[in-house]
Symmetry: C2
Subunit: 431 residues, 2 copies
């Protein structure tokens, strides 16, 4: 880690910088695959799966047989762990349901909002070395709580044409029936336009590499909603002399192992702790299976000593991390001061892994500073809120004259007239 | 209006079509202006304002003198009308505040969310013939309720270098201090990158023409959040034999006068009512100041007779209108069946104008079918929700073993280790 001792505030902005992304222009690739998908439909899915995933499929839809086989392969232990996570995630996201509140803004003017599920949602789950079945829970559970009538899941097949069985088991636990063996840009294109096999959806959610991210952005420009802009995962830890350096190092590594482009930042008021964490890091790193990845991520990561915890919080708010661990004494006292972060973990026993898997909070969070303006995935991500109003004759008499004046001032006389004809009718019916 | 009597369901999809937008490619123009803004800063704002708005400004910031003068120009009547609207909009948006709910998903595992305002928001208000000061209220009020520390407003100057006084009065009513005389792509570019005069913001909200829309999309691709994709305004009315044809016609016209690209759709079960509405339309149209605009909008609008109200609701849900008026007997009985709309108006006295100005609901709504996946602007548009968790030693013992199993199955051993080191420490401290 790069170490900074008491950098001046004028130096902070350099320290907020994220690792520079290789700005490869994927736009032409995305547009080509989207075009082919529109023209060739399912055939494009077969072709690109053969090209990119190295497997020739005859069927994209995961069969019941494959689902059953996955149930046999996955251990009971893992299923039980998933079930515990499922219960906690469900409980937390159920608490996000809102009650209808009717507000009578003036006598006879009733306004309220009602939630409705987004009808068709597509969930993308990356394949590759780490089969992210936990993301199936994090996206599928709120989708089912929202009551989305149609949920589909796309994930790339491995070289044998299979989706990791843990992903299939998680999808079955959630109740997702439509699972497709297709990944990358071609999966996002299929969810955007639809094919005979894969339905077009209203919203696409889920993590992915730079190809998937670029494809989701293109889908968005075509009118499909997406969960949020994506970037490499991040963790910022604020630690003081009360922190446990072994825990802090373990947390930094748990983030660093995600990818070489992950970024971890340690802010501390204690130079002693910093030394101990750095020692722990090299010790723990030596045992890690993903040591090579974590080392590279650490190389562009930062350990910074600041004067006081208030400075650490101020730094963190300006950085706006995806994950923030407050491993300090009396962490709760700083909650109100946090103005930007995806998910915050308080105290020495609240490790990021807990939120990644099983505490109940969602792990799909805004990265790259987007927590300044975006929330993580929640029940809200799968619903829209429709406003309703019911105005009585009396209600319109209360607000009508004001509407007439404002419409007139905006030179929208037909808007005014819609009120005037009603007010006249109310008066003439009374006479 | 184009009239359709009992079209078959197979014909519906043609009737869902929105007026085709002239697909002018604005991308190069947007990129050029964004580039100039980055290089020339405020000078680019002066140059483009001279070019597009025809006025040479020496200062972009609206002065206190201009604000005071606006207060003198705007009539007390209009100010009172605005105040009534302000109170209702504030009341309704205040009701959208959420209470913090701490959920103990397992003993010792506490999870909750807290709302934080987006720190810097930019509001765009179009100029032109209709000075949309009502949008200042609709965007400014929730922004101030959210507690956004920095709110700026951009609106193009007229040929005399002034912003319409009603816009300035509305902004003062809301409490927006930073008001800039700049519009179009250059305003969005300034809000995206910042200049010495105009601060860069985290989110840009507000209506605009196709140039502003294209610029907002570009801002979004650069990481600035926006309210929602925009399209021409729409209204769908469902009417039965109990509807008042005069009211229905007035509502259709109030939408049609917005622009030549506006779309209105009338669905009814009554051929009689259809005839009466068409008669009323031509009668009322003759008195309208914006007759030319409304006539063009009506030319590509549709009046459709369907078998039953259930069919009308089904049609409307598939069309997903921005505004939906249910001018039918017992309108409330159909609320639960509505699955996609921006804002819904129930009964004969709930006209769209009420929601446009003063009932309390927001008028910034998803158009062009986006109400399938987007909500209108609300308090939510100005906040983000941060998740928090506080896990005790006991809590980690409850969920830790499941996290270890899941992390292992995802081959993320550092994630597992972050739990393992803590569980070991808990046990060794107990011994």
């Amino acid at each position: 880690m790069q170490t900074y001792i008491y950098p001046s505030i004028s130096e902070w902005s350099l320290l907020f910088q994220r690792p520079i992304q290789p700005r490869e222009d994927l736009q032409n690739t995305v547009l080509q695959i989207f075009e082919d998908l529109k023209n060739l439909q399912d055939q494009a899915l077969f072709d690109y799966t053969e090209k990119f995933d190295g497997v020739k499929l005859s069927n994209i839809l995961v069969s019941n047989q494959e689902k059953e086989r996955a149930q046999q392969i996955v251990s009971e232990d893992l299923k039980q762990a998933m079930k515990l996570a499922f219960d906690n995630i469900q409980q937390f996201h159920l608490s996000q349901k809102e009650q209808k509140k009717i507000v009578e803004t003036m006598p006879g003017v009733n306004c309220w909002r009602e939630s409705r599920p987004i009808e068709k949602v597509g969930i993308y789950i990356p394949g590759g070395s780490a089969p992210l079945f936990s993301s199936v829970l994090m996206l599928g559970i709120p989708a089912t709580i929202a009551g989305c009538p149609y949920i589909s899941l796309c994930s790339p097949p491995d070289i044998n044409g299979k989706i990791n069985p843990a992903i299939l088991v998680a999808a079955q636990l959630v109740g997702i029936r439509n699972i497709y063996k297709v990944g990358g840009i071609q999966a996002i294109a299929a969810l955007t336009f639809g094919t005979p096999t894969i339905k077009a959806v209203d919203k696409i959610l889920g993590p992915g590499n730079q190809y998937v991210t670029a494809a989701k952005q293109t889908a968005q420009s075509l009118g499909i909603a997406i969960d949020m802009p994506a970037g490499p995962s991040e963790l910022l830890i604020i630690a003081d002399e009360s922190s446990n350096p072994e825990f802090v190092a373990a947390d930094l590594l748990s983030q660093a192992e995600h990818g070489t482009d992950s970024q971890v930042i340690l802010l501390t008021t204690s130079r002693d702790l910093l030394e101990q964490v750095l020692n722990q890091l090299s010790h723990q790193l030596s045992f890690l299976s993903r040591k090579a990845i974590a080392s590279q991520a650490l190389a562009h990561s930062r350990a910074i000593v600041l004067e006081c915890l208030e400075d650490c919080i101020a730094f963190s708010n300006l950085y706006a991390p995806e994950h923030l661990i407050l491993a300090v004494k009396n962490a709760n006292a700083y909650v109100d001061k946090i103005t930007a972060a995806g998910s915050v973990f308080l105290g020495n026993f609240s490790c990021e892994s807990a939120g990644d898997y099983a505490s109940g909070t969602n792990h799909t969070l805004p990265t790259n500073g987007y927590s300044k303006s975006y929330s993580g995935v929640s029940l809200d991500s799968f619903i829209k809120k429709i406003s309703f109003q019911e105005i009585t004759a009396q209600g319109l008499q209360n607000i009508g004259p004001s509407i007439e004046k404002m419409a007139e001032a905006e030179q929208l006389y037909a808007h005014k007239n819609a009120v005037s004809v009603r007010l006249k009718s109310i008066i003439s019916n009374k006479i």
